[in-house]
Symmetry: C2
Subunit: 219 residues, 2 copies
């Protein structure tokens, strides 16, 4: 039995939550390679994260390392997966089945991390009524009806910028609790609604700038 | 003529670089709606970013707002696009044409933000030799040869975690200057190589945690 069953739902700092998947990726790799134990010093060296930071991050989990041996790899992997919610099934609907939306439905990696896209919605009548990788695509007009029947808590926003807020409002009215926003638009929502922004295009801006300033240094 | 031609290549703080695309998305929407001027106060209200922060962010650009009128929307949009490099063509190769890699090739949004995927590479002999959305897919063994001929500076890493470092090393040896890493693995590279990590799965961890702690609050 776990020492503290409520640990699971603690509100964690975002930087910690972003580092934990790095540790998970690393220990999964170790397990695949047959390694049984790993120390925080070793993780630190491999991932360039301070060892004390790693110990602090892992202190949120129900796991303890042993002196001179470190963490048990298989147990650490399991605890990280449980803790991060990657082993649970989180139902999601996606609005906007254009290029990016379709790409997300195609990415089976998401389901390996616990995200189950149960339906897509679009305003395009040529798309509504079709199926993409076994995910049914409906007309956006059916969103409210569908969401009240299905148990989706997560709504993925993959529409053009100028429709982002409207779609978010529709989703919230339909009972969606968390918005995963792939547009560069800042969606506003009332208290109690989780918003996660993932604008992959703004990462391009960072990369282009770093490339440019690198060249500038060399000139 | 611009006041400071070197402004373009200044090394900007990452938070600024991530906010600029928000402003761009917003002013593009304004332009589409026929709005001609916008003040930083207005942008501030709409995007929930401090007005002084916006003024500071925009000070990196060759643009000045006018008292009581604000910024000219069309000019601001153009300057932001130029500054962010979204109007230039940046050639990229992608290694790993599995689920995520194929999804990225399918996403035509990337080309609208200046990213031109010229080729894909994979170890799977069933994929090598095919074409995906007019992007040729080659065997990974041809990476070095291809890169020395094409002018790709960006390498997208979309392979399984345990191959990320190896693929990164191959790309760097082939002359790639910036790695866009979609794996949760912390790639190491020598000085002068730009690394941009975009692990969309770790965003899921943040969202799941927020959803869970939200529910905890309600109980």
């Amino acid at each position: 039995m776990s020492e503290n069953p409520n640990k699971m739902r603690a509100f964690l700092p975002e930087p910690t939550l972003r580092r934990l998947p790095w540790y998970l990726a690393y220990v999964s790799m170790l397990r695949t390679n047959g390694i049984e134990h790993v120390s925080s010093t070793q993780i630190s060296k491999e991932l360039s994260v301070d060892a004390s930071q790693i110990a602090k991050d892992l202190s949120f989990l129900n796991i303890k390392g042993k002196t001179r041996i470190g963490y048990e790899v298989a147990q650490l992997e399991r605890e990280l997966q449980d803790f991060l919610g990657f082993k649970e099934v989180h139902n999601a609907v996606i609005v906007g089945v254009g290029s990016l939306g379709a790409a997300l439905i195609h990415d089976s990696g998401l389901s390996r991390y616990g995200l189950n896209i149960v339906a897509g919605f679009d305003i395009n009548p040529n798309i509504a009524g079709t199926t993409l990788r076994e995910v049914p695509i409906f007309n956006i007009a059916d969103l409210n009806d569908y969401c009240s029947r299905c148990k989706a808590e997560i709504g993925i926003v993959a529409v053009p910028v100028d429709q982002a807020q409207e779609v978010a409002d529709l989703m919230i009215a339909a009972g969606i609790k968390a918005l995963w926003n792939f547009t560069p638009f800042r969606i506003r929502a009332g208290k109690g609604i989780v918003i996660q922004n993932t604008s992959i295009y703004s990462h391009l801006a960072v990369m282009y700038n770093r490339l440019d300033s690198q060249k500038n240094d060399e000139e």
